[in-house]
Symmetry: C2
Subunit: 360 residues, 2 copies
C-alpha cells in the first residue's frame, strides 16, 4: 500500500493553525526507483547542512540543495527490506516530514522506507487472506493501571468457534512500543503469508507494551503471567496449556523473554529470544547460580531458540548466554545469521520462529 | 495511560545502529504539572534557538538552555484537552523526540500532549467497558489496490450475535490518515464513554483512509459506496439500510462527507459535516445548480448537521455552505461553537453527533 504524495495546492493551507508558521511545500520523499535506488528530499531555505542516515548506509550521506530550497540525494540500489532512516538537518536528527511511516518508538523519531523489489518478501502485503489487529485495553492489577496491547487474530478466526488457537506473546525492544512489531516488524503480514502458505499454524499473536518502569524485568513478567494471559484467555478462543503458549521478544524484550519463559516453563512450551539484552539484575539473579532440572525442563520446553546476527553489538554477550544455557544442559537451538541489532533481522527471526511454533 | 520516561542508562546504547551518531540522553518531555502548566524539554548542545509551538499558544515560545544542553520552557496552565505541538530548532520544525505520541499525518510530524485536568473529559480513558479497534485490509476495486481501514466495535459486540449494529463512516482531514480519528480524535474512547453513560447507541465506527489521489472527492465516494460499505456489511453484524448508516468527516473529510452523504441519501440517513473544505470541483458540480426534491430528501435524512468554530479559517465558507443548503430547503442543524480548525473541536463535534445518531 504505497502512498504517493502529489503536489496538491489546497493541502498547503491546512493545519496551519494558531501560532504555526506556514507549512513548506509538499515534496515526495522517499522516492524508490525501479532499480531500488532511493531519492530522499527535504525542504529548507535556511539549513546549512542536510544529510540522510539509515540502516542501509554505512555512514550518513550529504544531501545537496537546489535553487528552490529542496535538498536531495539519491543513494545506490538497496537490498529489498524495510529500513529505518532519519535526516540530520544542521544539529537536528528528525523523521522525514514527507513520509507517513514512522518507527513506533518512545525515544527517537525515525521514518521507515519499504523497498519492495521484484521478489515477494515474507513481510510484504500479498493477495492472501488477512488477519486482524485488535487494539485492546486490559487492566493490569500488577501495575495498577489500564494498558493497551495489540492482538493479531488469524484469517477465519471465530471467537465463538470450536477451534482453540495457540498464542504467541511477542515483545518489542527497549524504547519501542506495543505497535513496533506490526508497524516496523510487520508481524501480522508475516503471519498472514506463512499461514496462507501452510508454513505456520494459525495462531493468535499478542503484542503487549513491555516498557514497565522503573523495573522492566520483574514487574513485566508478573504483568504477563498474572494479567495479560488471563485477559487473553478470557477474551479469545485459545488453548490454555503450555503447549499452546509461546513467548518471543527482541533486545530488552529478548531478555524479558528469557526471564518470562524459563522461569515459567510450566506456562510456555516455546521460548524464542532474539538478540537478548541480559545485562540486568533480574537475569543475573535468575540464571547465574541457576541449577535447573535440565531433564524435566527439556521435556517441558518443546522449542528454545536464541537468535542473533554476527554484527550485532550484543553478539558476544548472546554467545555467552547460549553457552550458559548449554552448560546447564538445556536443549537450545542457536540461530546465528549475519546482520546487526536491527528490525530487518527481527523479521527474519520471527518468520523463522512462526514456522517452528506449535508443531510438536 | 501516561508514560513517564525515567532516565535509564541502558537504553542509551540501543538502536545506535550502523552509521547512526550516538543518541542524546533520555529527558522527560512534556511534563504536565498539577496546575496544568507544562514543561517542554529538548536536548541539543549545538542549536542556536529552540522554541515550542502549539495549538494552546498564540505564538511560539522560546526555550532556554541550561549548561547540560537541555533546552526548556514552562508554559502557563492550559485548559484540559489534547493539543498538537512541535519544536522549532533553528530552522527545523519537528516532533518532540521524547514524546511517544505523534499526530498521525502524512505531511507534518507533530507531537500531542494530553492535559487531563481534574474533571473527567469525554475523550479520556475511563473505567468503563472498552470496545476494540480492528486494523483491517479491504480490496478496493475502485482504486485497484488493497487498503487499510480501522473498525471500532463497541463493548459486547458479537460477530455472530443477533444484534445488528448501526455504522458510522468517519473520515479524517486532508493529509491525516486512517489513524487520526483514534490517535488524535480518540473516537474509540469518546464512543466507549458515551455508550457507557447510555448517551450513545452502541455502534460500529469505520475509519477509512480518505486521501485518494489524484481525485480525493469523486473516487473516494465510489470507494466508500462500492467497496467499503460492502466489505463492512459482509464482515460485521450490521444494519444494511440507510437508517443504520451515518457519514461524518472533518475538513477535506467534511467536504467528502457532504459529497458522499447528500448524493446518496438512499444510503445514509445521517450526515454530519465538520468544518468542511468545499472549494473543490466536485462540490461545485454537485451542488451549484443542484435542485433537490427537498421534501423527499428531508424525509430520507434523519439528521444533517454542519459544525464549525467561529475562529476556523473556513468559517465564512462554511456559513455559505449552510446558507446554500438552507436556500435549497434542506433541513439542516448548524452547530456553531468557538475555536478554530482544530482536533479539539473535532472531538466536541464527534461527541455531539454520537449522542444524536441512530435515535430517530
Amino acid at each position: 500500500m504505497k502512498r504517493i504524495i502529489y503536489l496538491s495546492p489546497f493541502l498547503f493551507i491546512f493545519h496551519a493553525g494558531l501560532g504555526q508558521p506556514p507549512r513548506p511545500p509538499a515534496i515526495s520523499s522517499p522516492d524508490i526507483h525501479q532499480d531500488q535506488s532511493i531519492t530522499f528530499r527535504y525542504y529548507s531555505r535556511t539549513a546549512q547542512r542536510v544529510s540522510v542516515s539509515g540502516e542501509f548506509l554505512k555512514a550518513p550521506v550529504k544531501m545537496s540543495r537546489d535553487t528552490s530550497g529542496v535538498w536531495s540525494v539519491t543513494v545506490p540500489p538497496v537490498q529489498p527490506d524495510i529500513y529505518p532512516y532519519s535526516f540530520w538537518v544542521d544539529s537536528v536528527q528528525m523523521a522525514d516530514p514527507n513520509n507517513t511511516y514512522i518507527f513506533a518508538n518512545e525515544r527517537f523519531k525515525r521514518s521507515i522506507v519499504d523497498i519492495l523489489g521484484d521478489q515477494t518478501l515474507i513481510h510484504s502485503l500479498q493477495n492472501v487472506p488477512h488477519g486482524k489487529i485488535n487494539y485492546r485495553y486490559y487492566k493490569s492489577a500488577t501495575l495498577g493501571t489500564t494498558r493497551q496491547l495489540l492482538v493479531y487474530t488469524p484469517p477465519g478466526y471465530d471467537p465463538n468457534g470450536k477451534t482453540k488457537y495457540p498464542v504467541l506473546y511477542l515483545i518489542h525492544g527497549g524504547s519501542d512500543t506495543e505497535e513496533t512489531w506490526t508497524k516496523v516488524g510487520r508481524a501480522n503480514l508475516i503471519a498472514d503469508n506463512l499461514i496462507a502458505q501452510g508454513k505456520a499454524k494459525p495462531m493468535i499473536i499478542v503484542m503487549p507494551y513491555g516498557n514497565v518502569r522503573p523495573n522492566p524485568m520483574a514487574d513485566f513478567t508478573k504483568d504477563v503471567v498474572n494479567d495479560i494471559i488471563p485477559f487473553v484467555e478470557e477474551n479469545y478462543s485459545v488453548i490454555k496449556e503450555s503447549k499452546g503458549r509461546a513467548v518471543a521478544g527482541f533486545s530488552v524484550g529478548g531478555g524479558q523473554t528469557l526471564n518470562i519463559g524459563l522461569t515459567n516453563p510450566d506456562k510456555f512450551a516455546y521460548v524464542c529470544s532474539y538478540a537478548p539484552y541480559t545485562a540486568t539484575e533480574e537475569f543475573k539473579s535468575n540464571f547465574t547460580n541457576w541449577s535447573p532440572d535440565a531433564k524435566a525442563m527439556n521435556k517441558q520446553l518443546k522449542l528454545f531458540t536464541i537468535s542473533v546476527g554476527t554484527e550485532d553489538f550484543l553478539y558476544e554477550s548472546v554467545k555467552q548466554n547460549i553457552a550458559l544455557f548449554q552448560d546447564k544442559k538445556i536443549k537450545l537451538e542457536p540461530f546465528i545469521v549475519s546482520g546487526g541489532h536491527t528490525w530487518m533481522n527481527c523479521k527474519l527471526f520471527l518468520a523463522t520462529s512462526l514456522q517452528q511454533l506449535f508443531k510438536n
